[in-house]
């Protein structure tokens, strides 16, 4: 599990990016990489450091699909839903995986093991259907292979 950050943690992390031109996205990525999500408590700290309003920072976090307001499951499975994957049956495959795990898109299994998210293209369109599991890519996915992948996870 990721630790819950204190304002001090956030301030320290912030310091590594303040020299950048346009530091907000690198800061948010770093917070999410370190803590698994962007906690609400980080928002005022960021706003103060960057001389922005809390509303502005909240607006930025909300705009992007990547940033989470709550932690995900222990593993994140991203299934591609874009056209090339669809042409190779990704929708049927996704429906099967979701029902196997008993979740809907963006949902996390009840044991906290896996969160499933849609993604619109991983650049693996010549070996569709494609997926990314914890940052590792998988192509030419079949139902059997997908099932083995998720069942192997702790």
């Amino acid at each position: 599990m990721h630790p819950q950050p204190s304002a001090e943690d956030i301030r320290e992390l912030l310091g590594r990016h303040l020299h950048l031109e346009g530091p907000l996205l690198p800061i948010l990525h770093d917070i999410q990489n370190s803590f698994g999500f962007v906690p609400q408590t980080a928002v005022p700290v960021i706003a103060e450091a960057l001389n922005l309003s809390v509303a502005e920072v909240t607006g930025v976090i909300g705009f992007y699909h990547d940033f989470r307001k709550a932690p995900a499951g222990r593993h994140v499975l991203k299934l591609c839903r874009a056209e090339a994957c669809q042409s190779m049956g990704s929708e049927v495959l996704a429906a099967r995986i979701l029902s196997l795990l008993g979740v809907d898109w963006h949902g996390t299994t009840t044991d906290g093991r896996i969160t499933v998210e849609p993604v619109y293209c991983l650049g693996l369109c010549a070996c569709a259907p494609a997926a990314m599991l914890d940052g590792r890519v998988h192509g030419a996915l079949t139902e059997a292979r997908a099932q083995r992948l998720v069942e192997a996870l702790a």
Partner: protein, 505 residues
């Protein structure tokens, strides 16, 4: 014996890492003298994991190879596909931008230089900004990010702008389905992008650059970051580019999962740390771009093609192509195809030849029904448009666009009404929200398509009107081009929108 295995994401997605590990283990166990080199991809994705073995007779290809095949492979019991470069899919290409991709170790600077790298930058270093821009103009290079705007003219605007700080921003957001050329070049030959950006800097007086790289590409991010670090250490980037006294340095930045951030002004807002909302133009980014300063925003392939233009000369490059579409284009063949991958060729090859001959038709073995060209905002072409030559003007004339030159092939089981609905749904999910025709229109579009699917054929007229409004009233191409896939599907396959579902019940 040298053994080459790709480290490209598509190869990894098909098991290349496991193959490389098995090769290492087998070499250790058997005492074979072999060196494994991880390259970029040759672009023949249907053959990945592709293993190339050079025992003195050139690089012989074997693929697809699984980890289990490795003992048989090293034992000489697997048939070779012949020399890699003689495989018909490869032999038919003109590889200029991708000349090194798949050949070299992507992060080896000595490989890069041995294969023509840095020749272009060295040449540009002794030219004036105006001369560099003229060379790009003569090459005929147009933006590979979609709009096809002449790169030289864009650079000239930035060059002539007066400002204390200018920027080169590389658009590596590559959000379109069916496109992966940007990813492949970044993973397979990252220095060519760095070199192109440095030349752009010299041309325009920009001393700083950013690559805005989508977060969906963690492998590309890692390779580019390492390449920048090594280029800096080698003096290619920094305060004294190759000992010239000129400055150019750059950074890699990750996006955060928003398709619209591929639009250049939205990208600049995102890079500044704002919501990725589209800015209205003017002012052009060339005059008021990143942090309000003159900025070149170019696609990865546009920039990565600059070094070869300077290495071989603008006239050499411009001699390829068709009409005002000069040079080569890395066509990305994807979806339901027998031979998917990256195929770099001079502009002008007919679409049908790419789909039927190069790609070999569908993977499912069924008939090709439609091809979507240019990503989620691109039109669907049915077979009656297969004689269209690959060129900006030619596609435009057929009611389509090249976009990033990605082809997504569908077989005859495709449901075109569903694909049209998906286009609207995608637009609704990814809209930046700034203008009503896009933000609301896309939601209405989904509803209207659902009505048509339920048998209400009168809703087709509503859909057509809605598309007109989106086309005319949207600020950027996300809302403005969504009508392309929708209307092209409707026009090519009207029977699927005709309320047949009701009649069948």
């Amino acid at each position: 014996m040298k053994i080459y295995v790709s480290r490209d994401s598509a190869a990894k997605a098909l098991g290349a890492d496991e193959v490389a590990e098995a090769l290492t283990a087998e070499i250790d166990a058997s005492g074979i003298r072999g060196e494994i080199i991880r390259t970029g991809s040759r672009g023949m994705v249907w053959l990945e994991p592709l293993v190339e073995i050079d025992a003195g007779q050139g690089r012989m290809a074997y693929g697809p190879i699984s980890a289990d095949d490795v003992p048989a492979l090293l034992g000489g019991r697997i048939d070779s596909l012949g020399l890699t470069e003689e495989i018909p899919f490869f032999a038919r290409q003109t590889r200029l931008t991708f000349a090194r991709c798949g050949v070299t170790d992507p992060l080896s600077l000595s490989d890069y230089e041995t294969h023509g790298g840095l020749v272009g930058l060295r040449r540009a270093l002794v030219m004036s900004g105006e001369e560099i821009v003229d060379e790009v103009k003569v090459s005929g290079l147009r933006g590979r990010g979609g709009a096809g705007f002449p790169t030289g003219i864009k650079w000239d605007t930035v060059r002539l702008a007066r400002a204390a700080q200018k920027y080169i921003v590389c658009n590596a957001d590559e959000g379109d389905s069916g496109t992966f050329a940007d990813r492949m070049i970044m993973e397979g030959d990252p220095y060519t992008l760095i070199e192109g950006m440095a030349i752009a800097g010299l041309a325009t007086g920009a001393t700083r650059g950013y690559v805005y790289l989508r977060s969906e590409y963690p492998d590309a991010i890692a390779v580019m970051e390492e390449a920048v670090k090594r280029a800096r250490a080698a003096g290619i980037l920094g305060a004294d580019v190759l000992g010239s006294g000129r400055t150019f340095d750059m950074e890699i930045r990750s996006g955060a999962g928003a398709y619209v951030c591929g639009e250049e002004t939205s990208l600049l807002n995102s890079l500044e740390g704002k919501r990725g909302v589209v800015r209205s133009k003017p002012p052009l980014p060339a005059l008021e771009g990143f942090l309000g300063r003159p900025t070149v925003v170019n696609n990865v392939i546009s920039l990565a093609t600059v070094p070869v233009i300077f290495e071989k000369g603008a006239d050499f490059y411009a001699a390829f192509g068709l009409g005002r579409s000069k040079g080569t284009i890395p066509v990305q063949i994807a979806g339901n195809v027998a031979r998917g991958g990256l195929f770099e060729t001079a502009f002008g090859m007919p679409l049908g030849e790419l789909v039927e001959e190069v790609a070999g038709g569908t993977a499912s073995g069924r008939a090709v029904k439609a091809v979507q060209i240019g990503g989620p905002l691109g039109a669907y072409f049915a077979r009656d448009k297969f004689d269209t030559p690959f060129g900006y003007e030619d596609f435009d004339g057929q009611g389509g666009l090249i976009g990033h030159a990605g082809l997504v092939v569908f077989d005859d089981s495709a449901d075109m009404l569903k694909m049209a609905r998906f286009a609207m749904e995608f637009c609704a999910v990814e809209s930046c929200g700034k203008c009503t025709p896009c933000r609301i229109g896309a939601v209405r579009g989904v509803e209207t398509l659902d009505r048509i699917a339920a048998g209400d054929s009168a809703a087709v007229e509503v859909l057509t009107d809605l598309c007109e409004v989106m086309k005319d009233g949207s600020l950027c191409a996300l809302g403005g081009f969504t009508p392309y896939p929708v209307m092209s599907a409707l026009q090519a396959f009207p029977e699927e929108f005709a309320g047949v579902k009701e009649a069948a019940e």
